[in-house]
């Protein structure tokens, strides 16, 4: 039997294809998630002054630009022992929630909701443009959420794609008081829509129960940053749990960076990543939820209860990742309102004098844990840079989810086209970011 090839996989972040190798009796034997085009960002940065590092790594990924910038800035600050003013940290956090909100909104509305809304329609109708033709209102409403994230990101980062406000040592400019109030008003106004969308998402997942239970149900260990009172997007304490939810390890960013073990894939430029001694590990919205147990804000935790009741805890089915995404958006929304309500700062930056050092920066990017390890030479220039992106951790789980989906699709009465749709749906549940994974 011929292999199944989907090229390109559409409605994902980046260029990739997937090949399912089928054996003689028609069983899916191997799945190859293929993406090529290594751009050499880890090597490009060599020799760069720390001032040039953030704008360079930002260009790894337009959608996650800020997360790369902050991870790099934190690595520089750790290497040089710079203590960043609290106000700047708050502003960074606010901006990151903005970008996470935007990314999740795109991943849900542009990439994934069409599959859940019209599970039996043909591929030509599964996109926001076709939905817009049928019902302008719903698409406009969904895109309002995306715009909201973009707005917060633009005001805090001073630009919505590749922000310019954040530098090693802190930030350049705070948001003026009146802009803060205007943003709070805009956010509050969108509250009911956000909650409504969250419920719609949960409803759609329940309506597609068969798919949820078939496209990626593997149970694996997870890693993410752990916060004191719920989810953390920046921080210095990582937790590893096993599939049953038992804590296996607590790691500092430096220890985690030491343990990262990357290996070549024979069919892709994305290198797989594991943690030595801990084996395969997953990152992302589900991992964050499994580790922290709750979000730490009222509305998000309230909406979470229903998910826990319906699907249990810890959560492993990758399609539930979509529910975790919308819950994270609700959490981000509450955090943004809270952070905007705090007074603007006077001092936002520390002057940074370049010298030698080693530092590790870890942030929770929308797709999962992003790790930067940086070595500066005696002139303070970048000597080595190691980047481990979320997709590298998730690669094996993603391939297994596709294999499981292929078995499900081919075991049933699915036609070729319908099988391909299911495989792509399984991939979208991971919201894989190819530019980050390849870098």
């Amino acid at each position: 039997m011929a292999d199944i090839l989907i090229d390109p996989v559409t409605r994902i972040n980046g260029n990739a294809s997937v090949r399912v190798v089928v054996d003689e009796s028609g069983n899916p034997q191997e799945v190859r998630f293929q993406a090529f085009g290594y751009r050499g960002f880890d090597q490009i940065a060599r020799g760069a002054h720390i001032d040039n590092l953030c704008p360079i790594v930002s260009r790894i990924c337009g959608g996650d630009s800020l997360f790369h910038q902050v991870a790099a800035a934190v690595a520089v600050e750790k290497a040089l022992g710079v203590v960043v003013p609290e106000e700047a940290l708050r502003l960074r956090e606010l901006s990151m929630w903005g970008q996470l909100f935007e990314r999740h909104a795109i991943s849900l509305t542009v990439h994934s909701i069409p599959d859940l809304l019209f599970p039996s329609s043909d591929p030509g109708l599964r996109n926001i443009i076709s939905i817009n033709r049928m019902d302008e209102d719903i698409v406009k409403k969904l895109m309002v959420l995306k715009s909201l994230g973009t707005l917060v990101l633009r005001e805090t980062g001073l630009r919505a794609v590749h922000p310019v406000n954040f530098i090693p040592g802190g930030a350049v400019r705070d948001i003026p008081g009146e802009t803060r109030q205007a943003l709070i008003a805009r956010l509050k106004e969108a509250g009911p829509l956000l909650i409504e969308t969250g419920r719609l998402m949960k409803l759609l997942l329940r309506r597609n129960e068969e798919v949820v239970n078939a496209l990626g149900t593997d149970e694996t260990s997870c890693i993410s940053l752990q916060g004191d009172n719920g989810l953390a997007i920046m921080g210095s304490s990582l937790t590893v749990i096993d599939a049953a939810g038992e804590v296996r390890n607590n790691l500092s960013p430096e220890e985690a960076a030491e343990k990262v073990k990357e290996s070549n894939s024979h069919h892709s430029h994305i290198r797989g990543a594991e943690l030595a001694g801990l084996g395969e590990i997953r990152v992302g919205p589900l991992a964050r939820l499994n580790i922290n147990g709750r979000y730490g804000t009222e509305q998000a935790d309230e909406e979470l209860e229903e998910v826990k009741t319906h699907w249990g805890f810890p959560l492993h089915r990758s399609m539930i990742g979509h529910a975790a995404r919308i819950l994270e958006m609700i959490h981000a929304w509450e955090r943004m309102i809270d952070l905007l309500g705090q007074p603007p700062g006077d001092v936002l930056r520390k002057t940074v004098s370049p010298s030698s050092g080693t530092g590790v920066g870890v942030v929770e990017a929308p797709e999962g844990t992003l790790l930067y390890r940086l070595i500066l030479d005696e002139d303070g220039l970048v000597k080595r840079l190691f980047i481990t992106a979320p997709l590298q951790f998730n690669l094996k789980a993603l391939e297994r989810a596709v294999q499981e989906s292929a078995r499900f699709a081919m075991g049933g009465v699915e036609t070729g086209e319908r099988a391909a749709i299911l495989l792509e749906t399984a991939i979208r549940a991971f919201a894989p970011c190819i530019p980050c994974g390849i870098h």
């Binding site: 090529f36 794609v161 290198r271």
Partner: protein, 300 residues
């Protein structure tokens, strides 16, 4: 109009801007037919189109194949973003050979099933195919993107002539000499005064306008050249980004040319961050990008 968006080697930032067109996005998609855009719709093949926006640079044989296919099927092609126009930040990879990049990232002799042909040098789109219009920017500012699309969808392709970021910048001069060369991570500059005169590494005079000089005049953040080289820089060999900035910094700081030059340890990352791969900048004396680039055929 049948519109398609093709993405080559890129960060997808330009498509993020496309999704940020707000109201106009809805007008645009309902009045036109978006036939191919893997980021947004499911069509797997690029069919005949009236307007194709191509973002990203050519990093592999597969990118070249896609670009060529687009040229064959498109009435008109737009190079979208600084990567497509000048190579972009990823063009800094041209400091090394592809062989070395791959060896250090993977291992000597690593091979991959289904890997497209590697190209030894990253090049902008028009090094491979004819391009009808350019919209540089990393990413292009959303307002500019919108007006560009409005023109393009009405049948006119805007040309790319224009001036430099300084022409849009409303800062004033400052008494010289000033300390420097300085970086954004050093002490903060005085807002409202020319950053280059204050000794900061600002690429404004050499960079294409169209962004409204927001970074510099509104936020006092030095221009990093993300709109790519201005027309003057592309046309005149005497206007080299490095030489010109160094000359202005010598004037601003009152230091010797040698002293100023020695203070900037990473000239390729600083002066050619978004355009190292631009062929028009390669051979200039003095200056040019050739000294920073890996020379094809050379052994390492």
């Amino acid at each position: 109009m049948r519109v398609a968006i093709v993405s080559l080697s890129s960060c997808l930032g330009c498509q993020m801007v496309f999704l940020s067109l707000e109201e106009y996005l809805f007008t645009m998609i309902s009045e036109n037919n978006l036939t191919y855009a893997p980021f947004i719709v499911d069509s797997k093949d690029l069919s005949e189109a009236d307007l194709v926006l191509i973002e990203g640079a050519v990093r592999s044989g597969e990118d070249f194949r896609k670009a060529k296919e687009a040229r064959e099927r498109a009435e008109r092609i737009v190079a979208l973003g600084t990567c497509a126009c000048h190579g972009g930040v990823q063009g800094l990879a041209d400091m090394f050979s592809m062989e070395r990049l791959m060896r250090r990232r993977y291992e000597a002799g690593a091979s991959f099933d289904g890997e497209p042909q590697r190209v030894d040098r990253l090049l902008p789109l028009d090094s491979y195919i004819r391009v009808d219009a350019y919209l540089p920017g990393c990413p292009p500012p959303v307002g500019l993107f919108r007006s560009f699309l409005e023109f393009a969808l009405a049948g006119t392709l805007p040309s790319r002539d224009g001036s430099s970021v300084c022409s849009e910048c409303d800062v004033s001069g400052i008494g010289l000499p000033q300390p420097g060369p300085r970086r954004a991570t050093d002490e903060p500059p005085v807002a409202g005064k020319c950053l280059l005169e204050q000794g900061y590494l600002c690429m404004g005079p050499l960079t294409r306008d169209g962004c409204g000089a927001l970074c510099v005049s509104k936020f006092a953040i030095p221009c990093d050249g993300c709109r790519g080289p201005s027309d003057d820089v592309l046309l005149y060999g005497s206007k080299d980004p490095q030489e010109e900035t160094l000359r202005r910094l010598v004037r601003a700081t009152g230091k010797s040319p040698r002293e100023v030059q020695d203070a900037i340890a990473d000239p390729a990352h600083t002066f050619f961050r978004h355009c190292l791969a631009e062929p028009l900048l390669r051979r200039r004396r003095p200056g040019g990008t050739a000294p920073f680039m890996y020379r094809l055929g050379e052994r390492e």
